[in-house]
């Protein structure tokens, strides 16, 4: 066990503090618990599978907004672009095509939409980027109603599920989530991640070091669009319907932000934890006590409290607490 830990530390930890036993144990237990979830999950397996998808969204938001500090209020546009691409192809163009064949197209569309938003706005500092993403979300939402003869309007489109086997469905969401987490963790701990953080902390300094900050901001958006596209595709085929309320409403974008911030933005691991916490509350725990609007209200109040009183995120707090406990041990 400690052998594995040392190897993980030596691959990841040259710039960051090494994990100690407690931190490594936490990750290992969480990972094993997820992998064997069908054994213990029972009726919560659906919630856990949704947690996987939203973890992808939260990480996708984090690598762009959390790392560079350019807050996007329209990340649901990216996942929505992939979801609607998939749905429109299946409904209008090629109903008989294998669903998986659409995945690359859906992801590509998400990247294209992302670049359309990012290229004009990320050259500038200030709130312009947030504005454009917010308005893009509104336009997309309105567009799904305007083009209702293609999109099915409020009802949306029926696209079919990837599988009806709940265990298989869980793994179809878990594997991409873990792969994306590994890729983004690697990137965020590489030079790219360091530059993105530097942009957040002091963009002028990055520029004066001779680094083109705009280029890296746009790259972070591409890095973000790819997971958003994959997540959007998985989400579209999770329950088999693509409708504006579940896919592109502004609340979905705010949810992604809330997950990332609750876990601790700018850390990749934090948003995963935040996503499971948020989805767990939303679909697992709160529905037992509250219904409909009351449930949302309670959820948002919890989010507000976390944002205000634990602005670095709950998972990050836990992580550093574990790190402090055995400071001598980790050396």
């Amino acid at each position: 066990m400690s052998n594995v830990m040392d190897r993980v530390n030596s691959t990841l930890g040259d710039r960051y503090a090494d994990m100690n036993r407690l931190q490594f144990g936490l990750l290992a237990v969480a990972l094993i618990a997820l992998i064997i979830a069908p054994v213990w999950g029972g009726s919560y397996l659906r919630v856990l599978a949704l947690g996987n998808i939203f973890a992808i969204f939260a990480m996708g938001w984090d690598i762009q907004s959390g790392y560079t500090g350019y807050i996007s209020f329209g990340h649901a546009v990216l996942s929505g672009a992939a979801a609607y691409t998939s749905a429109l192809i299946l409904t209008h163009i090629a109903p008989d095509i294998s669903v998986w064949a659409i995945l690359p197209v859906a992801v590509l569309m998400s990247v294209i939409v992302g670049l359309l938003l990012a290229v004009p706005t990320l050259r500038l500092r200030g709130p312009y980027f947030s504005l454009i993403t917010l308005v893009a979300g509104l336009l997309f939402y309105r567009g799904t109603r305007t083009a209702s003869q293609y999109t099915g309007g409020e009802q949306g489109l029926l696209v079919g599920r990837l599988t009806f086997d709940p265990v298989l469905r869980f793994y179809i969401t878990l594997v991409p989530m873990l792969l994306i987490a590994a890729a983004l963790l690697y990137l965020s701990r590489s030079n790219i991640g360091t530059i993105l953080i530097a942009i957040r902390e002091n963009e002028a300094a990055v520029e004066s070091a001779g680094i083109d900050a705009t280029k890296f901001k746009i790259w972070s958006f591409v890095l973000s669009s790819i997971p958003m596209g994959i997540g959007g595709f998985l989400f579209a085929h999770f329950d088999g319907t693509v409708n504006p309320t579940d896919v592109v409403l502004i609340d979905r974008s705010v949810e992604m932000i809330a997950m990332a911030v609750m876990g601790g933005m700018g850390s990749i691991l934090g948003p995963i934890a935040g996503a499971f916490l948020f989805v767990g509350l939303r679909d697992g725990i709160l529905p037992a006590f509250l219904s409909g609007t009351e449930r949302w209200l309670a959820l948002w109040v919890v989010v507000l409290f976390v944002i205000v009183f634990a602005r670095d995120g709950l998972f990050r707090k836990l992580w550093h607490r574990l790190g402090d406990d055995t400071e001598g041990d980790s050396e």
Binding site: I71, G126, V254, L304, I307, V308
Partner: protein, 296 residues
């Protein structure tokens, strides 16, 4: 054709006046504190619902005041909500721009859920402040009195605000703070009282706009979103922090939207505004009357 044009001009002017109220409050808060208050749309919504509660018997059968008093209640309610938002939340987190951004948008979502809970998600219609309408068949025009009232009140309020911030010491301290916070502090401006005033004014303007917007369009829990996006667009075009810029850009966007909807149809609402914003961002990022961002 010419009649249609005329009616679009009139409608555009009237709705622009309401947009100006929204954008000026939004930009003042940014100017003074560097805060983008994403709960601004929620204040508009609070104004509209406050008006609904006191003027219609549907919520409390015993409460039904004349519309003009309802307007006052809406302004006071939104101003109070704005101040509570600042004193209770924003002033503790304002040094962290990102957290303020996120917290205010969550506040807006919470406000929308509360309204859904209290008034159902269905749109409600408000009793017009001034009922009735005037028809000018000669030019094919029909104007509702509420639109005229909104236009007139908007100009009176903006005029009063202009007088306040340029001619009185209390108002000029707001202007000074938005120019340079440190300079204002050094010349003895009480920053805390300036912030309080600004949030009260912005809330009041939002409440006022909410009543007119809620009457002309609809009063619904999702009504915080479109005005917020509009305020954002207008403020970027006019120049962030500039009251004059907001006023000019409000009319620009108001006319643009009215003509787009009138000529091309409602599904194009917002598209051209986005094009204009993109053009402004690319060509003149500081906006029409804005200053460059100064690093604090």
């Amino acid at each position: 054709m010419i009649e249609g044009f005329l009616s679009l001009v009139v409608t555009g002017a009237l709705i622009s006046a309401v947009y100006a109220l929204i954008a000026i409050g939004f930009t003042m808060i940014f100017g003074v504190g560097g805060i983008l208050n994403l709960a601004h749309g929620a204040l508009i919504m609070i104004g509209a619902y406050a008006y609904l509660v006191v003027t219609s018997t549907s919520t409390f059968a015993a409460v039904s005041v004349p519309p003009i008093l309802g307007l006052v209640v809406a302004v006071v309610a939104a101003a109070a909500a704005s101040l509570i938002l600042y004193k209770g939340l924003v002033q503790y987190i304002e040094e962290d721009v990102i957290i303020t951004f996120l917290a205010t948008v969550v506040v807006a979502v919470i406000a929308a859920e509360i309204m859904t809970l209290a008034f159902s998600p269905n749109p409600r219609s408000l009793t017009p402040v001034v009922p009735g309408s005037i028809s000018l068949p000669a030019v094919g025009l029909r104007i509702r009195f509420i639109e005229i009232a909104g236009f007139a009140i908007s100009w009176v309020v903006i005029g009063a605000l202009w007088y306040y911030v340029t001619r009185t010491d209390a108002g000029r301290s707001i202007l000074a703070t938005s120019m340079t916070r440190r300079g204002a502090k050094l010349t003895g401006v009480n920053i805390s009282s300036v912030s309080t005033q600004t949030w009260l004014i912005a809330g009041g303007l939002a409440g006022l706009a909410g009543v007119f917007l809620g009457t002309l369009q609809e009063t619904a829990p999702l009504m915080w979103l479109d005005p917020l996006a509009l305020a954002f667009i207008i403020v970027v075009i006019g120049g962030i922090g500039s009251i004059k810029g907001s006023l000019v850009a409000a009319y620009l966007i108001g006319f643009l939207e009215t003509f787009t909807v009138g000529v091309l149809g409602p599904e194009f609402r917002g598209v051209f505004s986005l094009v204009v914003v993109a053009a402004v961002i690319l060509v003149r990022p500081e906006g029409l009357y804005g200053r460059e961002f100064i690093d604090e």
